[in-house]
């Protein structure tokens, strides 16, 4: 039992006063001292260690060890050395102490007395809140998702002329500019690039495996066929690993040149095959046609990076 404020304090040989305060250790949250006011409320406050409390028989009194004589040897409380618990932030202090002289009561309003089914009102409040929220979920989702799924653009773009390609089995970059129309924005011109290789029959075989490559739109209708024996092969400029832009480079290990992505160091040969690095699939072959004058046209196809199969995004 904890000592209570106002309780009478007794020694073996008589009453010494009453408890006016308790002192709490801020770390252990235990009462460390009781403060006993001598006499009938006008005397000095003496600070008595909790160890000197022999017994707390009930809420009205506590019994101290020793005699009246010994009680007078306890130090007088130095009030300046303490603050009240209202002036400090000590977690869980109130939970641990029960020293209030009594409960403080306020009357509850008459209308609140005997109200039945409080939980019904609580549940109804939640239910109405939910009814306000639910019809908003779908419109908000649709609002946010508006631009997320677009039909594929299968139009052809001119990217350059193959006459600039002199050597076989070497990557040549073709830069092109295309219009890009997004939502309310005026059409913007964005720069992109693709890589074209003039392939020897071995490389053609490595890319196409002797079969024509067919391209479909999102409805599954055939859009274009790359012939298996077409000498020029175009690769999307987007690295199939994580979407960076790769380059044609000659390195110490590959003096003839390879496609190298500077991001995560994926390396591909002229047939787009992964030679080294983390890429999960070969370079993406683009739908491409070359006319008699050597003009190259492509469909600007992009696939999702980082997966084994080709999942078309654009």
């Amino acid at each position: 039992m904890q000592p209570k404020i106002k309780a009478k304090a007794r020694c073996a040989d008589g009453e010494v006063g009453s408890i006016s305060k308790v002192i709490v250790d801020p770390l252990s949250l235990e009462i460390s001292h009781v403060v006993v006011r001598e006499g009938g409320g006008r005397g000095v406050d003496r600070q008595v260690p909790i160890g000197q409390v022999q017994e707390i028989p009930n809420e009205e009194e506590i019994i101290l060890r020793g005699s009246l004589e010994e009680f007078r040897t306890f130090p007088v409380l130095d009030r300046e050395a303490y603050v009240t618990h209202h002036d400090v932030e000590i977690a869980h202090l109130e939970d641990r102490l029960h020293v209030e002289p009594g409960e403080i009561l306020v009357p509850s309003p008459r209308l609140e007395q005997g109200v039945p089914r409080r939980s019904f009102f609580m549940n109804m409040t939640h239910a109405i809140g939910t009814l306000i929220t639910l019809p908003l979920v779908f419109p908000v989702l649709k609002y946010i998702m508006k631009p997320m799924y677009k039909p594929f653009d299968n139009s052809w773009f001119s990217v350059g002329n193959v006459r600039k390609i002199r050597k076989e089995n070497i990557g040549y970059q073709f830069k092109f500019t295309r219009g890009f129309k997004e939502a309310f924005m005026p059409e913007q011109q964005i720069e992109k690039n693709i890589w074209v290789v003039k392939a020897t029959p071995e490389v053609q075989k490595a890319v196409y495996g002797g079969k024509d490559k067919k391209f479909y739109d999102h409805k599954g209708e055939l859009v274009w066929v790359n012939k298996a024996k077409a000498p020029y092969i175009g690769y999307s400029g987007k690295c199939p690993h994580l979407g960076c832009g790769y380059k044609w480079r000659r390195t110490k290990n590959f003096p003839d040149g390879v496609f190298l992505c500077p991001c995560h160091l994926s390396i591909y040969d002229e047939a787009g095959k992964v030679l080294d690095g983390p890429a999960p699939r070969p370079l993406d072959v683009l739908p491409m046609q070359v006319n008699a004058a050597g003009e190259v046209q492509i469909i600007d196809v992009e696939y999702k990076a980082g997966v084994k199969g080709q999942i078309r995004l654009l």
Binding site: P186, N193, C244, P262, G277
Partner: protein, 365 residues
């Protein structure tokens, strides 16, 4: 109210105090016992708050000129840097402030981990702290796109491709962030609103909760010493800890200013899907992850999922579960060998991968 107010100022203070209870609030804020006394090691949290407030101030100022559209973002950022008085300073401060934030989050988490302060009864503070860590990373990622230069564009391209690898929700998440199949105006709009509205609101709420829970549980104090020794050194938050905090904040401020002067932000070319000669690279605090993804063991579709999503996700999951797995009340780091070795190992891995990413730059040039 104490005594009779003598001048107008005291009268005003008393008037407000009577209605608000300012003096009690102030007393509650400042008079919190710090078990074992104030320490420099406890300053990290306060520094984070300071850095965040400065990010809010500089961020709001940047929005006076910045326009979040693909045809104006780059030009308006260049205008801030080159034309607006002190624009270069505010923008560079905001840039270096974000790096400082990441460093400080690291220091703060390490301190809490090494001190064993995540243990019972402080599990929820740790969990909310982890969520805050996620928000700081999200701030870095979304803010990076806003200048709309090549660096910004490619970091976003790769970052979103990585998120795309999340199971089930990945495709939706990456389309949601991009606002379409490829990055463009919708991406910029979305990153902008996330960066300047959603994340700050979330961070303020969670940081408030973090502080509330911290005050509720009380500071953990040092991990060694008898209760008597700890009690003998205990003092209040004010003045000694507040003093250490403000000195630490001033130091952080000076460091950020110094970096701002030495290395002010310059932009690369305007963003476009053709990288040209630019070698895409994320901000330095993501470099270790970037370098990890170059490893052969993270090759292929599954390897990539492992390196980009599964391992970082599992690590964060492990951190979240930590206070529930590690139930031993022992807080002394020198008596928790697994924790100490684990921390050193993770720091070493991050350091090694960051350094090797930097060394790799020369190989590419």
């Amino acid at each position: 109210m104490n005594g009779n107010p003598t001048n107008v100022f005291e009268k005003v203070v008393d008037f407000v105090d009577e209605r608000v209870g300012l003096k009690t609030i102030q007393a509650k804020m400042l008079n919190e016992p710090v078990p074992g006394g104030s320490r420099w090691a406890y300053a990290f949290g306060s520094c984070l708050l300071f850095i965040f407030i400065m990010q809010v101030v500089t961020g709001i100022l940047l929005m006076f000129y910045y326009v979040p559209s693909t045809d104006h973002a780059y030009a308006s950022t260049q205008y801030i840097i080159h034309e607006v008085d002190y624009g270069w300073f505010l923008l560079s401060y905001h840039f270096w402030g974000s790096s400082a934030m990441v460093v400080m989050v690291f220091a703060h988490m390490s301190q809490v981990f090494l001190w064993g302060a995540y243990k019972k009864p402080r599990e929820l503070i740790w969990l909310v702290g982890l969520a805050l860590f996620g928000l700081v990373m999200a701030f870095g990622f979304t803010g990076y796109l806003l200048p709309w230069d090549q660096r910004a564009y490619w970091a976003t391209v790769v970052g979103v491709e990585i998120m795309d690898k999340t199971p089930v929700v990945g495709d939706f998440l990456s389309r949601f962030l991009k606002g379409g199949p490829t990055p463009g105006q919708m991406t910029l709009s979305r990153f902008f609103v996330i960066h300047v509205m959603i994340l700050p609101a979330a961070l303020m709420g969670l940081a408030g909760l973090h502080l509330f829970l911290f005050r509720k549980a009380g500071p953990a104090g040092p991990f060694r010493g008898t209760p008597e020794q700890i009690k003998a050194k205990t003092d209040y938050f004010f003045p000694r800890q507040v003093w250490k905090d403000i000195v630490a904040m001033a130091t952080v401020f000076l460091i950020i200013c110094t970096l701002t002067f030495i290395e002010p932000v310059t932009l690369l070319e305007e963003a476009t899907p053709d990288p040209g000669d630019y070698h895409p690279e994320p901000e330095w605090y993501f470099l270790f992850l970037f370098q990890m993804l170059r490893l052969k063991i993270f090759a292929g579709e599954f390897g990539q999922f492992l390196g980009a999503v599964a391992i970082p996700g599992a690590f964060l999951g492990f951190l979240a579960a930590l206070p529930f797995l590690d139930r031993s009340p022992e807080r002394n780091i020198f008596k928790r060998p697994i924790a100490l070795i684990g921390w050193i190992a993770i720091m070493a891995v991050i350091l090694i991968f960051t350094v090797s990413a930097i060394l790799n730059r020369e190989f590419l040039d």
